[in-house]
């Protein structure tokens, strides 16, 4: 058996026996993404559905001043309630989302044909209330529009005179692409999983060995350091890819359970898409394993390696964050850049867009090539004399 395989098998066996590694790699690391994701989406769906379907409850103060308006609102299914005595306090305390106040002079203004003032007591910093407030505003504006149109018709003027421009919304998003919007987080989660999956093993197998004083005896064996490093690197890669696979399986099982179609979205994340995503993301594991091993060989101690490697896990998230803040138009060269190409390909896959073969091949090829270069750097670091010296 070649030496790297002996090292590989030992690292795998030893780490499979470590409950902490197993938990952090295969439970926490892989399942947190899907669970978090399902939870967030589920919450989003239930909030959207609830707000949209529930009749609007509108507390009104001074309803007697505007009986027509109240009748209109009731006609539209609004449940009119009595407003609390101190409207401002009720809003500040978040007891109510919105309160409509009709001042006593409203009726007089209305009769005089002046703009009659209504007050909506709201707190604009309350995201939760946003939808209720805008529903109330929409209904009142509708009432105003109707009345205006009636007044014009009475005077023999067509209402379209005062509406010179009409906007018609021609939405080009498909149900899948709206789902993709929801799934903007997914590339980040998957890339993170493949880096985090190998992190513990990489730190343990190099910096940990040195700290526990077993690296020096290991390196005295008649085996090249490249082989020893190779075995450890491949073990790291294996753990990274395994945690990616588990994560994707969890995604493919949990996504169909979410009623995303109820809010007009289709999320493509079945077995086929997951297999495709695995093929796209797995090569990143090599870059991750190489970087983690290099850092562990470079660091002076276990703690230092752990600190650097934790920071390193955040690194692949940077393109995802930039893309989320400032979406770019995909250009051909981007498919040869690891992380960037992964971001694009993952998004395209879950949006249900068909992938271009050369783009996938370019991403995989470039990622593997860079991964091999980084692995060679790790091997060089392993050859440094003081690597083995524990004390």
């Amino acid at each position: 058996m070649s030496p790297w395989r002996i090292v590989f098998l030992k690292e795998v066996r030893e780490n499979l026996r470590d409950k902490r590694v197993m938990f952090s790699t295969f439970v926490l690391g892989t399942l947190m993404g899907p669970v978090l994701f399902a939870g967030l989406i589920g919450l989003m769906i239930s909030v959207t559905l609830e707000r949209g379907e529930k009749p609007l409850e509108l507390p009104v103060a001074g309803a007697q001043h505007a009986p027509n308006l109240i009748a209109f609102l009731k006609n539209r299914g609004v449940q009119i309630e009595d407003a609390p005595a101190d409207a401002e306090a009720a809003i500040r305390k978040r007891d109510k989302d919105v309160i409509l106040r009709i001042p006593p002079e409203y009726a007089q203004q209305w009769r005089d044909g002046r703009a009659a003032t209504l007050e909506l007591v709201v707190d604009r910093s309350q995201q939760k209330a946003e939808q209720t407030v805008s529903r109330a505003e929409r209904l009142i504006n509708e009432y105003a529009g109707q009345t205006a149109a009636l007044r014009l018709i009475v005077r023999g003027v067509s209402p379209s005179v005062v509406q010179p421009v009409l906007i018609a919304d021609v939405d080009q998003s498909t149900p899948q692409s709206r789902g993709g919007l929801l799934l903007a987080m997914l590339p980040y989660l998957l890339i993170l999983t493949v880096f985090a999956g190998g992190s513990y093993l990489a730190t343990d197998a190099t910096a940990g060995e040195r700290e526990r004083q077993s690296l020096e005896p290991l390196l005295i064996n008649p085996v090249s350091r490249g082989q020893i490093m190779g075995g450890k690197l491949i073990a790291t890669f294996t753990f990274a890819v395994a945690s990616l696979a588990i994560s994707l399986i969890a995604f493919s099982l949990s996504m169909p359970l979410l009623p995303v179609e109820k809010i007009g979205m289709v999320v493509k994340l079945g077995p086929l898409e997951c297999a495709l995503l695995f093929l796209i993301v797995a090569p990143l594991g090599l870059i991750g394993a190489g970087l983690l091993t290099s850092v562990s060989a470079f660091a002076k101690g276990f703690r230092e390696a752990q600190t650097y490697n934790t920071l390193l896990i955040i690194l692949p998230a940077i393109p995802s964050m930039l893309m989320a803040l400032n979406p770019v138009k995909p250009a051909d060269w981007m498919y040869t850049v690891p992380l960037l190409s992964h971001q694009l390909l993952i998004e395209q896959t879950v949006r249900g867009e068909s992938l271009v073969a050369w783009q996938v091949a370019a991403s995989i090829g470039a990622t593997l090539a860079i991964g091999i270069v980084i692995a060679m750097i790790a091997a060089r670091l392993y050859h440094r004399e003081h690597l083995a010296i524990s004390a």
Binding site: R13, R17, P217, I220, E385
Partner: protein
């Protein structure tokens, strides 16, 4: 057979090893005695190919270490200063791991592992994970691991460091057994009694240099002292860093 010729190694401005030459013969126990910080560990590290000497040559059974380091490593069994075990593997698995890296086939591996476990008296802990082992159990496992490929030359860096009396006695007996098998045993120590009791030849090292070399009688004669411990102190020039 180990031959070390004019070795030098500096770390920054510190001359850790400054022209060390000596040899160790088969069927003998050679002791490398010196106070802490005298350059014993660095000398051994160059000998077992972990560090490159700046000048000088080392030959193991006639093979130069710079020409064929892997061949030299096969001829050496080393208990380094760092002797960490894999705590989630059993003692036996620790030993087998190194045996496989030496390229032993499974039948030979089992034979050697069983033999060493018996010779070192660690049958009762062989199938236990090494986490929680006592110091003595750890050192014995590390020695078994170092000797699994049946090397002609055995290097032990301060093997009895931190051991209790029982474990120390077992270990000394084991070293005598290695000598009886015709192996070349080189061990370093800063404990004078231990060196006096075990060694056929003694190399005294201080401040990176060999200050005396020979049998116990030769050293006593050289120093003009009847007592070997007095002779050591006189040769080295200080008691600092030594232990009885």
């Amino acid at each position: 057979m180990l031959e070390l010729i004019d070795l030098r190694k500096t770390f920054g401005a510190v001359k850790a090893v400054d022209g060390v030459s000596f040899s160790a013969r088969d069927g003998e126990i050679t002791g490398l005695l010196g106070p802490n910080g005298a350059g014993k560990t660095t000398t051994l590290r160059m000998l077992y190919t972990l560090m490159k000497p700046e000048t000088g040559h080392i030959r193991v059974d006639g093979v130069d270490i710079t020409e064929n380091p892997d061949a030299v490593r096969r001829k050496l069994g080393v208990l380094p200063d760092a002797r960490g075990l894999y705590k989630r593997l059993t003692a036996r698995e620790n030993i087998e791991y190194f045996g496989r890296l030496h390229g032993l086939d499974e039948a030979t591996l089992k034979l050697r592992t069983d033999g060493l476990i018996k010779a070192l008296g660690i049958e009762d802990i062989a199938s236990r994970r090494t986490e929680g082992f006592s110091n003595g159990q750890r050192v014995k496992t590390a020695i078994a691991r170092a000797l699994v490929h049946d090397p002609r030359n055995v290097l032990l860096d301060e093997p009895t460091n931190g051991l209790d009396v029982m474990a120390t006695r077992t270990l000394r007996k084991f070293m005598l057994q290695l000598r009886a098998e015709g192996r070349c045993v080189l061990f370093s120590s800063h404990i004078m009694q231990e060196v006096a009791a075990l060694c056929d030849r003694i190399v005294v090292i201080a401040q990176g240099r060999v200050v005396a070399e020979g049998t116990a009688d030769e050293l006593r004669a050289q120093a003009g002292e009847a007592n070997l411990e007095d002779a050591f102190v006189k040769i080295i020039g200080t008691e600092e860093g030594l232990a009885l």
